[in-house]
Structures are given as structure tokens and as C-alpha cells.
């Protein structure tokens, strides 16, 4: 296994060191931190000021902590959506589109049944957003099993298609006639998620997300379907012989994965944004993938890694105001974390030697 041009060889470690699973992740985060500091420095801003602002913006006071939790909620769900699919080596990178689809589905349900009492409304929102996301996921699964269209590509295409669909809806049938902006009218108060604290925007979405995390954990680790998912993930060829119906599992996984991403859309609509708009999601679907990878695709760790990235999103606002660092930096940091994390996982198993 040669790295060309350098005469380096990659060999499997003789003694698999008892490094815990956490160490490579921490090293990756440290490396990402250093690169981020460099990027801030490049912009000519004071690195220390910027990072202090980032920290304070995320955890500085109660309001900011609640905002961070609000950002973590959709990330937990899109992270779970990625985790369950990736565990089965199904590359669903369409959580963004599935999330938007969930929001559209929930908005449709709310406006179609506006007279429901709060509890029924809450359930209808969860169901409709789950189903709307799940159907898009299922469609990608169906395209794979029936026409052999790669899941990666169809999910990417649906991300674009549904973004345009949302843009069209808020421009036409769902457009708020009272407003200059292209967005829908606000959903009625009965449909809005209850707030957990007075004075702050923290809503029930985070509780929904944590409950779903537990459900997905049980599904993957403790159920027969979870066994099939893991078997396919470990060895797709061998699982054929164990009598696992791969097509059926694929459809099921895409249904659940899309549905969980859809829930994130429903939660954002009912909990925080209260209307459909073009900039509905700041890329939660993509950040969810990074959240899941950082958690080692383990549902139990996903709330924690979501909190980290939620903090990054919230804190970046203050960093922009105080230190003049564009929020776009956060998206670069996310990608750097992802690349470092997958590299770090590699180095727990292998080492590089000179020939």
C-alpha cells in the first residue's frame, strides 16, 4: 500500500493500541480547531477575540444556551437520519431535501386541519412531517431497488428539486399576501410547539429529538431490523446468504431515515420559524451527516455532537458581530472536522512507515 511519490507504506498496526474511540475524535477536533484559527487569522481578525465571542455566543447566558439547544434539535434528527442509513452503508445524503419536505408536509397538514385541539395538532404535525420526509426517502429507495439509480445521486437531486419546490410554494400558493417577503403566513398559535421556559424561545423540539434518538438507538441495537441493518453494513455480500432481503431493508431504512429528517423540518416549522421560507434550513441536512460521523454513527452520542455543532452555529452569530468573521466560516469548519474525523479513524487502525 504505497503512497505514491513519497515511498511511504501504510501498514496495519501490529499491536492495536488500546486507544479509546474518543481519542482520534478529540485529535481531529483539535486539528480542526487549529485550521479554523488559521482561517480566522487569515481574515485579519484577532483570533482570541473571535473564539471568545464564539464561546460566549453559544454558552454566554441563558438565552444563548437555549438558542444552542434549539439549533441542536434539528441536528440531532438529521444526524440520526444519516446514522441509520450510513450504518447500512446506504448513502442517503438527502436529509436536507427530506427536512424541507417534512416542513412542507407539516405546513400542509396545519393549514388543512386548522381546527384541531393542541394535542391532536401536535401529533398531526409529527406524523405529517415524518411521512412527507419518509416518502421522499422511500422514493429514492424505490429508484434504487427498481431502476438501480444510485441513492447518493437521487438524494442529491431531490435536495435541489425540493428546494425549488419550496421556493415555488412560498412564491405562489403559500405566499403571504400581507408581506413583501416571499414567505408563507405564520402558522396559528395552536400549531406552535409549547415553549419549555418563559421568556425564551426554547421549544419542545429538543425533547422530540432526544426521544427519537432513544427510539433509533433501540431500533438499531436491539431489534431484528437493526440486526439486518448492521449485517448489511458489515458485509453486504455475506448478508445475502443469511437470508436478508436487501431490497426490503433498503426501502425500510430509507423510509425511516427520510422520516426522521422530515421530523426535523416539522419541528423547525412548529417550534421556531412558524412559517415556510426559502432560507428555512441553514444546511441542517448536511451538518447532520457530520454530526453523525463525529458520533461514530452511534445514536447515543449524536445529541452530544449535535450540541457542539449547534453551539458553533449560534456562536458564529456573535463572532460575526464582535469580530467581523463571516458566518460562512462555520461551514468550512464543519467540513474540516468531517475530513479530519474520517482520517483520524483511519489512524487508529493503521500507521505509516517509510520504506
Amino acid at each position: 500500500m504505497l503512497i505514491p511519490f513519497l515511498n511511504l507504506r501504510i501498514v496495519r498496526r501490529q499491536h492495536e493500541t488500546k486507544l479509546s474511540q474518543i481519542l482520534p475524535v478529540l485529535l481531529a477536533l483539535l486539528a480542526a480547531f487549529i485550521v479554523s484559527a488559521f482561517l480566522v487569522w487569515v481574515s485579519g481578525s484577532d483570533v482570541k477575540v473571535a473564539f471568545i465571542a464564539l464561546w460566549e455566543g453559544a454558552f454566554g447566558n441563558t438565552r444563548q444556551i437555549t438558542e444552542t439547544l434549539n439549533k441542536a434539535a434539528p441536528l440531532i434528527l438529521t444526524g440520526l437520519a444519516a446514522a441509520i442509513a450510513f450504518r447500512a452503508k446506504i448513502w442517503n445524503i438527502g436529509a436536507e431535501g427530506q427536512l424541507l419536505s417534512g416542513a412542507i408536509g407539516a405546513y400542509w397538514a396545519i393549514t388543512t386541519f386548522p381546527g384541531l385541539p393542541p394535542v391532536a395538532m401536535f401529533i398531526v404535525i409529527l406524523l405529517s412531517s415524518f411521512l412527507a420526509g419518509a416518502l421522499i426517502g422511500l422514493l429514492s429507495g424505490y429508484l434504487k431497488t427498481k431502476f438501480n439509480v444510485d441513492v447518493i445521486i437521487s438524494t442529491v437531486m431531490f435536495n435541489y428539486i425540493i428546494t425549488f419546490l419550496l421556493s415555488m410554494l412560498v412564491d405562489t400558493v403559500y405566499r403571504d399576501p400581507e408581506s413583501y417577503y416571499k414567505w408563507s403566513p405564520k402558522i396559528p398559535e395552536v400549531a406552535q410547539f409549547p415553549l419549555l421556559l418563559t421568556k425564551y424561545r426554547l421549544h419542545a423540539g429538543i425533547i422530540v429529538a432526544i426521544v427519537v434518538a432513544l427510539v433509533i438507538y433501540l431500533l438499531i441495537e436491539k431489534s431484528p431490523v437493526g440486526y439486518e441493518i448492521q449485517a448489511i453494513g458489515h458485509n453486504p455480500t455475506a448478508s445475502n446468504f443469511k437470508g436478508i432481503n436487501k431490497s426490503k431493508t433498503l426501502l425500510f431504512v430509507m423510509f425511516i431515515s427520510g422520516g426522521v429528517a422530515g421530523l426535523a423540518g416539522g419541528g423547525e416549522l412548529a417550534g421556531l420559524i412558524h412559517r415556510l421560507r426559502i432560507d428555512f434550513s441553514p444546511g441542517y441536512g448536511f451538518t447532520g451527516i457530520i454530526v453523525a460521523m463525529l458520533a461514530g454513527l452511534n445514536p447515543i452520542w449524536i445529541p452530544l455532537t449535535s450540541l457542539l455543532f449547534g453551539a458553533l452555529l449560534t456562536g458564529s452569530l456573535k463572532m460575526q458581530i464582535v469580530a467581523g468573521i463571516p458566518v460562512a466560516l462555520v461551514y468550512a469548519i464543519q467540513a474540516i472536522v468531517l475530513l479530519f474525523v474520517i482520517t483520524a479513524e483511519f489512524f487508529t487502525l493503521y500507521e505509516i512507515r517509510r520504506d
Binding site: 501504510i10 438501480n148 437521487s154 437531486m157 415555488m168 467581523g324 460562512a328 469548519i333 474540516i336 474520517i342
Partner: protein, 314 residues
Amino acid sequence: MLNDLLQATMLVSLFSAMIRIATPVLFAALGELIAERAGVMNLGVEGMMLTGAFVGFIVFDKTDSVLSSVLLAMIAGGMMASIMAFMAVSLKLNQTVVGLGLNLLASGLTFYIYRISYEIEGTLEIPRIETLQNIEIPLLSKIPFLGPILFNQNIMTYIALLLVPVIWFVIYRTRLGLLIRGLGEYPRAVDVKGISVNKYRYLAVVFGGMMAGLGGSFLTIGSSGLFVQEISAGRGWLAIVIVIAGNWQPGRILLATLIFALLDAFQLQIQAVGVQIPYQILLAMPYIFAILVLMGSRAKSIPPGSLGEPYSRE
């Protein structure tokens, strides 16, 4: 008579736009073709195009030199691709996740650097650069109908079109092409001959990245003159679709690219005429079409035998 003339000019402008629109995707698809023929599924094309678009833009804005901006855009795409190659070929990491990571990196970094470069006191200046001039080829451009469509384009478009037969020749008629095909079909045979599989896979992926960067630079310096966030808008992904739909053959890839470009040119003309369709439906058409194309072609297409599989001797 006047009506006919009007229709002829409409068609000329439609097909001329098609050729122009095909340019960036054609570069990227031909580059991806080489990478995939060598056995590496590079899903970072989108990010490499975006990087090329940005680097091409910023270099042209600072230097006014087409050559240096195109070259640096290619180098930037190639650098992204070498990260891809290192992680996918050497470390044998999952090619999907690596490609995705690179796309996200490009999306974050380009917009970040764009903001810090052009933001003054919190307001964003939106610079515009001049775009490439069309070069009218003497005599040929006078051919009725075909002339203005094919022979009144800019230099990058000519190069992209010429690249199709060149790539075809390299793949099917040279030793290098044989090697590339060997890497994708049966890398062990290449290894047995004492040729380094990984080295040539690196080169193929980097070539693909350079082509994606070149194609990306066309988006800014060749057509729009502006940089906006996510300017590549899925064209890298379309390039991947086109390689599949074109069944990994240069001629069919050209055909597939032209069909996608025609669709795009058509929706632009519909918008310009002002037909009462929500413009979002028109913009979504290429992506819907991509799924339909794959539904029709995926079952029949034959990918290189070892596509996406890292090579190891053991």
C-alpha cells in the same frame, strides 16, 4: 417569411446557447470519466467546480489575466483532487464520505474567502469581471445555421469540444489509455506488470479535478462574470450523472451533456419570452431530468469493473 426568419434566429440562439452552457459540464464530465475509468469514484466534482469558479473569478479580478486565472483554477481543482486521492486511494477511506466532505469544504471556504475579500465595513461589494469574448472563426462561421452555432464561441468552449476526440483517442488508441482502462477494470493486472496502481490512480483523479476546476472557472470568467454562493449549482453532480448516462464513453458523454445543456438553454429562452410557468419548475427541470435519465439508462450501463474499490495487494 419574416416568421420563418424569426424562428431560424431563435433556433440559432437556442443551439448556440446550448453549446456555451455545455462547456463547463463537459470539462467536468470528461475529467470524471478519466477518474472513473481509472477506478476512482470522485464525488467531489461539485466542490472542485465551485473551487475553480471561485479561484478563476478572484484571480481574474486581481490580475486581469485569463490565462493565469484559468491555470490557477485548474491547480486549485487539482489540489482538491489530490486530497480526494490521498484519502480515497491511499487511506482507502469511503469515497462517498470523502467526496461529500470536499463538497462541503469548497462550499464553506469559497464563500468565507469571498466574504473576507470583498466585505468592507460589513457591506459586501459585488464585483463584476469581464467575460471571455467570442472568437468568430473566419469562413466556418459563415456556414448558414451551423456557423454561428459552432464557430462563434469563446476559446474555452472550443477547447472543451476539441477535448472530446482527444480524450477518446487517448482512452482507446494509446498505451496510456490501455493503462487507465486496466486500472478501472482489473488493477491487479496493472500491478503484476510492475506499474504502480495508486500512482496512476492519483494522476487520473488529479486530472479529473483539474478539468472540474477548469469547467468551474468557465462559470465565472466564461459566462456570468460574477461569483455567487454555490454558483456551481449542482453542475458537478450533473457531470457525474452524465458519465453514467454516457456509459463511460466520450462520444455519448458529449451527447448527454448537449441534451442537458439544451434543456437548460430551452428553459432560459422560455423565461426570456415570459411564459407563465413558475420559474422554479424550469430551474428544477435538469435535476428531474437527471433522475429520469438514470432510470432509463442505469440498468443498461456498464461501469468499469473495479469502480470505487480501493486496490490492495493482499
